[in-house]
């Protein structure tokens, strides 16, 4: 194949379906857009030469052509769509109850279907390799499809001439003949009034409006590509951090993933519920619901910056950076990081008080002591001269077979093995005490420890985020919206007028909204003597 010279004198690139200048269908290329003789012309991409469909040589070309096909792109969309829906049949792994083992969870909850779901990897579908590949392939298809179409389309729209080949006009969807003298000046001025750009060549008229809407799809594809690139940047640790920290009231913790640069103190965690008595407007709903509905989660926090640059673990010197009220929807922001209120635990034990009695006689107190659960002491000396030694401390006590153990370091269910040394200095007795439990292992103890009280504190869970990819996402989204609106809310309308021996031919084309085009034509031919053209594609009822 080689360049094609049209009878109008214009030289077209190979693969052209309709001459760029005059629109004459090019012999031998009509199969590309499925044009048939005597039927309407397929006007997509102006019948320009999409490169993909002309070359097919090296492997590079083959890959290129594969991705250049809209058909392939549409299939990629469909596969992604179906795959996405499969992932919602059962909850994703990140949404199953915390602590549940995914290996057994799906089978236990959903039976065989759940087991298959898990084994096929649908429990982690959206971060799976193949799902990401699908999205990546959509990205590739976006880039190549756009490159392959925008260049020739631009060329064809730039090269178009007002003087068109008569078959081009005849085979437009909107076409009409007028056999009479017509008022060309009135027609032109009408077109101007309707905000058409009018060009003339040897009495042939091309009126055009909204050409820029043709670039809409490419603009929105660029937006999408920027968005996807932004998503890629998340894999760079310097661009994106997602971490989490639990902080007990009164404690200061290093903000993770900041290299020890920032610290945060939880001064107070506040949980507020709606009160049916106070919030009258919600009374009915609250009464129906029967469980308290939270109105606010808040952490009163102090953000510190570390001023000394010593090694990690060394005692930090801290400078107050800011005091913040961290509320859902209102994160605290500092130095590129943001802290979000994201979780909490109420009423973790912070201290426990015990009193010592003689067994069977609770009236006389032989001393009282308080164990600070964050720093329990080895030994507590009581007023009566008795001593209590902590032999073992289980912050979150449970029985592992017949062995007491702790599940974690957090005092959620504290229990102790105490040695009680009597006031007279005799042999110690062993006593096991915890929340709601007081065990005398020998059943021969003369002394008994009673829980006299406890203090609790709340724990706040803050998500730590740094996200420098957001601007990319934002710009991508914005460009996408501009492109979509440009392409969807405007349309590219063209009206051609050609003088004939005994009158004129008129034809019209638009990429969408034919109704609008017809109204434009109606308005433009008013008082010109031109007859209203017909819609040749009217579906037969």
């Amino acid at each position: 194949m080689k360049k094609i010279k049209c009878e109008c004198g214009h030289v077209n690139p190979e693969g052209t379906v309709l001459c760029e200048a005059c629109g004459k269908p090019i012999e031998g290329n009509q199969h590309i857009d499925g044009n048939k003789k005597d039927s309407l012309l397929n006007m997509r991409y102006e019948g320009s030469a999409r490169r993909s469909q002309t070359y097919n040589r090296s492997i590079v070309d083959k890959v290129w052509n594969f991705f250049s096909s809209v058909k392939v792109g549409v299939w990629l969309i469909i596969i992604t769509l179906v795959a996405s829906s499969l992932g919602t049949i059962f909850p994703q792994e990140m949404y199953i109850p915390p602590g549940a083992n995914p290996v057994t969870f799906y089978e236990d909850q959903y039976g065989l279907a759940g087991k298959i779901y898990y084994q096929l990897g649908f429990h982690n579908l959206y971060s799976s390799l193949w799902f990401m590949m699908m999205i990546a392939l959509i990205g590739v298809s976006l880039v190549i499809c756009s490159i392959d179409r925008v260049v020739p389309l631009h060329r064809a729209l730039k090269k178009q001439k007002p003087k068109r080949h008569h078959t081009f006009l005849k085979r437009q969807r909107i076409f009409g003949e007028t056999k009479a003298n017509v008022d060309m000046d009135a027609f032109k001025s009408n077109l101007h009034k309707n905000r058409y750009k009018v060009r003339e060549q040897e009495g042939h008229i091309l009126a055009e409006k909204g050409r820029f809407s043709r670039w809409g799809p490419y603009v929105n594809h660029i937006g999408l590509i920027i968005f996807l690139l932004g998503a890629l940047l998340r894999f760079l640790p310097s661009m994106y951090i997602d971490d989490f920290v639990w902080i007990r009231e009164g404690e200061t913790e290093v903000v993770p993933s900041t290299g020890g640069k920032y610290y945060v103190k939880n001064e107070d965690f506040i949980l507020e519920n709606y009160d049916p008595q106070e919030d009258k407007r919600f009374q009915e709903a609250l009464m129906n619901q029967n469980v308290p509905v939270a109105s606010n989660y808040q952490t009163n926090a102090v953000i510190y910056e570390r001023t000394n640059n010593d090694v990690v673990g060394a005692e930090p010197e801290l400078k107050v950076l800011s005091r913040e009220k961290i509320v859902v929807n209102e994160p605290a922001k500092f130095g590129g990081f943001a802290l979000y209120q994201s979780s909490f635990q109420l009423d973790e034990f912070s201290s426990m008080s015990f009193t010592l009695h003689e067994t069977g006689d609770e009236s006389a107190v032989l001393g009282k002591f308080t164990v600070d659960l964050t720093a329990p002491k080895m030994e507590y000396k009581l007023d009566s001269g008795a001593r209590v030694v902590i032999d073992e401390y289980f912050p979150e006590y449970y029985m592992d077979g017949n062995q007491p153990r702790s599940k974690s370091k957090f005092p959620k269910n504290p229990a102790f093995v105490f040695y009680v040394y009597p006031p007279d200095g005799g042999e110690p007795e062993v006593s096991f005490a915890g929340i709601g439990m007081n065990i005398d292992p020998t059943n021969e103890n003369d002394y008994k420890l009673n829980l006299a009280g406890f203090d609790t504190r709340d724990v706040t869970g803050l998500a730590v985020k740094k996200d420098y990819t957001l601007p990319f996402m934002g710009v991508g989204g914005l460009i996408f919206m501009i492109g979509v609106i440009q392409g969807m809310y405007w349309n590219h309308r063209r009206i051609w007028l050609q003088p004939t021996e005994d009158g004129v031919w008129i034809a019209g084309h638009t990429n969408k909204n034919w109704y609008g085009l017809k109204r434009d034509i109606e308005k433009s031919i008013q008082d010109t003597g031109i007859e209203m053209p017909e819609d040749q594609q009217q579906l037969k009822g």
Binding site: R44, G73, I77, R281, A294, N329, N511, G541
Partner: protein, 395 residues
């Protein structure tokens, strides 16, 4: 305060009746033999529609004042708003194309949606902390507008299909078209059943094991499908015909399943009666009445609605949703089922546009896609909220 709430719900009732009467007037326009649709019936129809829309706006803002937050925060409020936006989208399309037939189909759909909405708890509900954000209103309202405009494309697509599909022989097309009509009847069935049993104050209590605990399960409709392993506690209530299968999890699963069965059965009865009366397919009976409309124009309305609605939907359901999610949950995208289905909807319409623009899918194919898109939107509104509960289960 209480008075304002009463005024608000009365306004909603009023708007419902406006739409209902408007539907009859649009029905009247169809008898006109000529295509010229500037008839009296048409003018009255659109006037009533606008009056209804303004009344419903009144409902919306009085409720806003009463609750002190935009009333789009629970299923009733959101669905009602969606119905209202559907009417708005219709009004806009009406003034572009002046097609009465769109109103004849769009208004009943809007009526069904509003009636469906009122089957859910209607009291003003408090906002949990994550919902306290202006982005909530912006996201939810824009998404609803987008979906409503896309719904007009379904309405036009449905009209196109009824008008165009060959009813002389039975085919896949005629089957699925009847199926769509049957689905609409089922929605009506759901509303009738819920209202009827609600008026009777029907209640049946079961004790059933859920997650290894015996809990009380309350039915507000006679149990066709009882809870798995459940025992009827209420005297005189109907014994379940069968038990819901064990793989349906959760306290409410069996009750919802039962409601679904009632809806489908009552839909079947309604459809059956209509079919018996007509003695032919419902679409076949409607077809002659639509013959005078230009199918090309209907097809264009359907496509136009997608091209107007798609950008709005993208903005509301994807972009604003991301901004809010970033503020509330510190991630703009979390693959929550509702989010995934919004993405699916978006991909579907992207697919629609690509097929239409570069592969030339017009007419019947395009109309079926419009129907499919609406099915996905409804699935996201109904099934995802009620069945696949995620973070969004409150909305």
């Amino acid at each position: 305060m209480g008075d304002l709430v009463t005024i608000s719900s009365n306004l909603l009732y009023a708007s419902f009746f406006f739409y209902l009467i408007a539907t009859f007037f649009f029905g009247g326009t169809i008898r006109n033999e000529k295509t010229g649709n500037r008839g009296k019936a048409s003018t009255i129809g659109i006037s009533l529609t606008i009056a209804g829309f303004i009344t419903q706006l009144g409902y919306f803002f009085t409720r806003w004042v009463a609750s002190q937050h935009a009333p789009v925060s629970n299923l009733f409020e959101f669905t009602t708003f969606f119905g209202m936006m559907l009417v708005m989208a219709f009004i806009i399309i009406y003034f572009i194309y002046r097609l009465d037939v769109i109103g004849l189909f769009a208004l009943p759909i809007a009526l069904l949606i509003i009636a469906y909405a009122s089957m859910f708890p209607r009291e003003i509900s408090p906002l949990v902390p994550s919902l306290k954000s202006h982005w909530l209103y912006i996201h939810v309202t824009t998404a609803a507008v987008g979906e409503a405009i896309l719904a007009i494309s379904f309405v036009a697509g449905l009209i196109f299909l009824i008008r165009q599909i060959d009813q002389t022989k039975s085919s896949k097309h005629t089957f699925w078209l009847e199926f769509v009509i049957y689905s609409i009847f089922s929605t009506l069935g759901f509303i009738i059943m819920t209202t009827t049993f609600g008026a009777m104050d029907y209640q049946a209590q079961f004790q059933a094991p859920v997650e290894e605990q015996i809990v009380n399960v309350e039915y507000e409709m006679p149990a066709i499908a009882g809870p798995n392993g459940g025992e009827l506690q209420t005297e005189g209530a109907m014994q379940p015909v069968f038990e819901a299968p064990g793989w349906m999890r959760g306290q409410d699963a069996a009750r919802k399943f039962n409601t679904l069965i009632w809806s489908l059965l009552s839909g079947l009865v309604l459809y059956g009666i209509v079919r018996l009366l007509l003695r032919k397919r419902v679409a076949a009976a409607l077809q002659p009445k639509l013959k005078k409309f230009n199918p090309d124009l209907i097809d264009e309305v359907s496509y136009r609605a997608v091209s107007i609605g798609f950008p709005v939907f993208t903005l509301g359901a994807i972009i604003f949703a991301m901004i809010w999610a970033q503020e509330a949950w510190n991630r703009f995208w979390g693959w929550d089922p509702k989010e995934v289905w919004a993405l699916i909807t978006w991909l579907f319409y992207a697919f629609f546009l690509h097929l239409r623009l570069s592969r030339g899918w017009h007419g019947t194919k395009s109309a079926w896609l419009a129907v499919g898109g609406f099915a996905i939107i409804m699935f996201n509104l109904i099934a995802v909220n009620l069945v696949i509960a995620g973070l969004h289960s409150y909305a």
